[in-house]
């Protein structure tokens, strides 16, 4: 994308416009400089990730006032550039009296704090740190300008609300050179300091945030083996012939790749292998090669056989119970990469570069972009949990009836209501869960906190464990009282992680939620199913529970349930621990 010319981006953006059917992602841009050339670039970055944006740019240099108008956007970006800020001071800044400078600083602090307040409940905000890169550096004693800018940045770091991502634009200036990023001519003539190059780099660097906010991060990294995980071909060169040594000239790059795979597996990303080889050869290399960093225990799933890789990747996704669009695939072969791009275009493919020294950097860039590297406790246990899933699957065969099998698992659910300790995990589940998700509403931590604090809405979270292990917080139900009728409560969101499905937990959890609503004094529950590309498996879920279908239109089904006539399933073999603090 950084290699595309601005004109090409405009053309591609136009081609993609109108091809994405999802609900628009509302973006507001606040700025005190002209950034209009960035609009189409941002649109293109969104659209190429299947996100349809609606971008509104606030009035020029009207950040404080427009912040209040933009608070309900999904994302607000703030370009509060030092250049125009400093232009407010008519004196020579270095000659400014200390108290004049102090009162100027206070003025900006109070403006900043108004913006922070106005945007504190917006799901996501990107705020650019102030840059002093435009001004000459005085090495002997720090210039007033530089000191002033660093004080502003300190204020921002200390006071910005938690939904703010602070963007270090100096880092972009550094990587690409200030002269590539800033054009004084256009600042003077049109208050447009940023070059098209800068805007491209900037929009690309916020891509991970766009992916995260729209539930589009990847879940698994699937690697080929020969010339991808190590140098050489194990089937031909043998165990001794393959190279992944940190001490060897080429092996060191593969050594780094393996370190990255281990790094990801510790952060809950699923690592898998998909290779055309004899399974025994590959496993022997992982187990016994003295330079192997990536070990068998880091690998959740492997398809080492001679089948075509598209079929193998599909099987991997199926066994992991995730979509193929959650996969990242790395291979050194043109043939395999093209096959996957052709047959499974939704899989993110990385082609091992011909210049092997670029390989680690390229992978790391993709890692930063595609994966969640700030996992919570549950993510960390994920490798273990996916393995348990396979043990459960294989234990299934030993029992005659599925109920006998489920009873043998010793499943225990714990349901907590409005427990603030789990806000990050709950928000993350709303962002990531696609398949068992009745309404697919995405919420930030802020929004979950608001549901919990509000007296007329409830957030129930479900924890699951069985004799094979602890799956952690894997189900969420958000309930909101009807605005007109205090006897009616709506299920705003209901979702469960796929790895716990198929054990009737999905019924027991809702039985319990219904009981909860009854104890809180409600007589009717309303619910909705909103169709997405991925949630077909739950399209009849409410019918199965016993809800009455009220109406169906444009992919949305509306339901109602009279609690007094509801009959729970009473599944005895699932035990519920609850803290119904009514």
């Amino acid at each position: 994308m950084e290699n595309l010319k601005y004109t090409e981006i405009l053309q591609l953006n136009k081609q993609l416009s109108g091809t994405i059917s999802s609900a628009p992602y509302q973006i507001g841009i606040l700025s005190n400089v002209t950034v209009n050339a960035g609009k189409e670039i941002l649109e293109y970055v969104c659209r190429k990730n299947q996100i349809e944006p609606t971008i509104e740019i606030g009035n020029f240099d009207n950040i404080v006032q427009d912040a209040a108008l933009f608070r309900d956007k999904n994302l607000v970006m703030v370009f509060w550039d030092t250049l125009n800020l400093m232009d407010q001071v008519s004196e020579f800044f270095e000659d400014l009296e200390e108290d004049t400078m102090a009162s100027f600083k206070q003025k900006i602090y109070s403006e900043l704090s108004m913006v922070f307040n106005n945007l504190s409940s917006t799901p996501s905000v990107i705020f650019n740190c102030f840059s002093s890169a435009y001004y000459p550096i005085n090495v002997i004693s720090e210039s007033k300008t530089h000191r002033f800018v660093s004080e502003l940045n300190r204020y921002v770091k200390e006071n910005a609300p938690s939904n703010f991502v602070l963007m270090d634009i100096d880092a972009i200036f550094q990587q690409h050179g200030l002269s590539q990023c800033y054009d004084q001519r256009f600042y003077l003539s049109s208050k447009a300091p940023y070059t098209v190059n800068f805007l491209k780099h900037y929009m690309v660097s916020i891509e991970p945030l766009l992916l995260r906010n729209n539930g589009k991060l990847k879940k698994a990294l699937i690697l080929d083996c020969d010339n991808t995980l190590w140098q050489g071909i194990i089937g031909e060169d043998g165990l001794e012939g393959i190279d992944m040594a940190s001490s060897s000239k080429k092996g060191v790059f593969f050594h780094k790749i393996q370190q990255m795979a281990v790094f990801l597996s510790k952060r809950g990303i699923i690592i898998g292998l998909c290779s055309k080889n004899n399974e025994a050869d590959v496993l022997e290399a992982l187990r016994t090669h003295k330079d192997a960093v990536l070990k068998e225990e880091n690998i959740v799933i492997h398809k080492i056989n001679w089948n075509d890789k598209a079929a193998n990747l599909k099987a991997i996704a199926q066994e992991l119970n995730i979509g193929t669009d959650s996969l990242v695939f790395i291979d050194d072969s043109d043939f395999e990469i093209n096959l996957i791009r052709e047959k499974l275009p939704e899989v993110h493919c990385i082609h091992v570069p011909a210049l092997i020294s670029d390989y680690p950097q390229q992978l790391l860039k993709n890692i930063y972009k595609l994966f969640n590297l700030n996992p919570n406790k549950d993510d960390l246990k994920k490798t273990e949990m996916y393995k348990q899933q396979f043990q459960r699957e294989s234990a299934k065969d030993q029992f005659g009836s599925i109920d006998d099998y489920l009873a043998s698992l010793g499943i225990e659910l714990t349901v907590l209501v409005d427990d603030a300790a789990y806000i990050p995990r709950i928000s993350q589940l709303t962002q990531k869960t696609n398949q068992f998700n009745l309404t697919t509403l995405r919420y930030t931590e802020n929004q979950i906190e608001q549901f919990m604090e509000h007296p007329k809405s409830f957030t129930a979270s479900m924890f699951v464990k069985d004799k094979f292990g602890d799956s952690g917080l894997t189900g969420v139900c958000i309930l909101k009282e009807d605005e007109g009728d205090p006897r009616v409560i709506h299920i705003d969101s209901l979702l469960m992680s796929c790895r716990i499905l198929g054990r009737n937990i999905e019924y027991v959890f809702l039985d319990h939620v219904i009981e909860l609503a009854e104890k809180k004094g409600y007589s009717t529950i309303r619910a909705q199913f909103i169709t997405t590309k991925k949630n077909a498996q739950v399209k009849d879920y409410y019918e199965k529970i016993g809800f009455e279908l009220l109406r169906e239109s444009e992919g949305t089904k509306s339901y109602s349930l009279n609690i007094s006539t509801f009959k729970p399933r009473n599944i005895q073999y699932i035990k519920i621990n609850t803290t119904l603090n009514v």
């Binding site: 010319k5 601005y6 004109t7 090409e8 136009k14 209009n36 050339a37 256009f186 049109s190 098209v196």
Partner: protein, 76 residues
């Protein structure tokens, strides 16, 4: 050569079909040609031709012929 590349750029920036850009296109007859898009046009032209359009010229480039003249001069 430059002629058709300039038309490509103008078509993309002003979001109009390529064949609607001609030798007579100007700020008077292209509705989307406002001051903000004018800036985007200059940015796009500079990138496309790898040139830096002098400040004093920027405001003058109000029609296709003037743009072509300036670009031809700069890429010589």
């Amino acid at each position: 050569m430059n002629n058709s590349r300039i038309k490509q750029v103008m078509s993309a920036v002003f979001e109009v079909p390529l064949d609607s850009i001609n030798e007579n296109s100007s700020t008077d007859n292209l509705e989307n040609w406002d001051s903000l898009r004018h800036l985007n046009l200059i940015l796009a032209l500079e990138e496309e031709f790898g040139v830096s359009i002098p400040d004093e010229e920027v405001g003058n480039l109000v029609n296709f012929k003037l743009i072509e003249l300036t670009i031809n001069e700069l890429v010589k």
